[in-house]
């Protein structure tokens, strides 16, 4: 379980996160949604240790992240833009990441097959297309069979077929009891894979609960979101 409790963060006295609370449960895909600059990326970076929260508790199965970096042994992260040194080959990148963990990359071969990366192992990262880079990022995020999976716009630069395959992989991970946090602007994707959503607006959680409950009879998640915001703040 990922626990986020009363997390606050300001940049140059400008509050970005103002007491954010929610939990991500194992076996569930939790989607973090909200407009641009609402604090989604900052919150994700706080969980990853890239941004240091001013206040609050961020914990992975009761391990407070301020205690050390050990929790990252069980963490898989896929950023929006995957970037590695241009001159390293795919094999070298995978070996590098394997060398930094005590766990074996038990899912590596399976993922390389599923994501059709087998033929690119000796290619330098600089020679890969945008889609291939994203697939490599996905393989890096999942090859250690992590307990917590954090995804930032994971299918943004994937073709429809690969995006579909990747969504199936995400759902499969949750079905295997993994804790998945997905940050996405793609609401149809969220509707397809997430069971719970956190709607973040101006640094505060506006809704945290099940997707079904949030939709409450609406045609899709997008219209449900418009209805929700309209009720709260008046017409957009």
């Amino acid at each position: 379980m990922i626990e986020i409790k009363n997390v606050r963060k300001s940049f140059n006295n400008r509050p970005v996160l103002m007491g954010v609370d929610f939990v991500c449960r194992p076996g569930v895909v939790t989607a973090l949604i909200g407009p641009n600059s609402c604090g989604k990326s900052t919150l994700l970076k706080c969980l990853l240790g890239l941004v240091i929260a001013d206040q609050g508790r961020l914990a992975f199965d009761n391990f407070d992240i301020s205690q050390g970096v050990e929790y990252r042994e069980k963490l898989g992260y896929l950023p929006q833009i995957v970037d590695f040194p241009e001159n390293l080959t795919v094999t070298e990148i995978l070996e590098l990441l394997e060398s930094l963990r005590s766990k074996k990359a038990i899912k590596k071969d399976l993922l390389l097959g599923q994501l059709e990366l087998g033929g690119l192992l000796n290619h330098a990262f600089g020679e890969l297309s945008g889609g291939a880079r994203q697939k490599l990022g996905a393989a890096c995020a999942l090859m250690f069979d992590p307990d917590y999976i954090l995804l930032d716009e994971p299918t943004a630069s994937l073709d429809p077929q690969t995006a579909l395959a990747f969504r199936e992989i995400i759902s499969g991970q949750a079905n295997r009891g993994k804790t998945v946090l997905l940050v996405s602007h793609n609401l149809s994707e969220v509707e397809q894979v997430a069971q719970e959503i956190v709607f973040l607006l101006e640094g505060k959680v506006q809704y945290f609960g099940s997707v079904k409950q949030f939709m409450n009879g609406s045609l899709n998640l997008e219209s449900a979101l418009v209805n929700f915001v309209t009720k709260r703040k008046g017409p957009l």
Partner: protein, 259 residues
Amino acid sequence: MKKFWVLLAYGLRDQVRSRWVLAYGLFYFVAGVLLLQFGTDYRRYLASMANVILLLSPAVSILYSTVHWYANGSFRHLILVQPVSRPVVFFSSWLSILVGLSGAFVIGALGGPVLLGSFDARIFSILIAGLALTTVFSLLGILWAVTIRDRMKGLAGALGTWLYLAILHDGLILGILMMLRDFPMERPAMALLALNLIDIARLFLLLQFDLTALMGYTGSVLQRMARPGVGAAVIVLGSLFWILIPAIIVNRRFQNRDF
């Protein structure tokens, strides 16, 4: 510690394959060959190489490290979310840049004399000065990249730092010494000198060879003032200051930075 060596090894693989690092080494090799082939004597070769190194090594080190640090930002984020501490990531990243540039410089600068059979132990003084400049200016480049988020502003800051330390500082000291020539200026001049690693490297080379006329504006003034004991103290203390202080500041900024 194992993770540090792993990151350093992979960082070095990236550096070794970089065309910019290769071009840097090749430049010193070609410069060495040309200066030895067309120069009149070995002293003149040493003076010319010293001048090239005092100007070029700081420029390449600061600009390359700034650009490289910005360009690898996303990769560094991916490494920072692995179970690795921030000091390990910082020092391995910096050292891979430093070792890459230093390797290219040493191989390039030694290549010419070795190839032409003109090797002389005096070249080691030039190598030491070049390595010290590479160490400090690579740190200064990273300091800009860690401090300023905007890539263009960071690069402009790095370029401005090089311009000041390579050209303007020298002119400033000369102006002050000329204005106050009637006063005893040995100590103030040495203090001003220690504020610039390029001048410290120049002083170091000056004390190794008798190259006054060829060593920049302040060369002759420095030689008159720098008695061997004082000069050596300025070199040792100045170099330590210039290596330790930027390393401590950059490391601290890297530890507390939000990415």
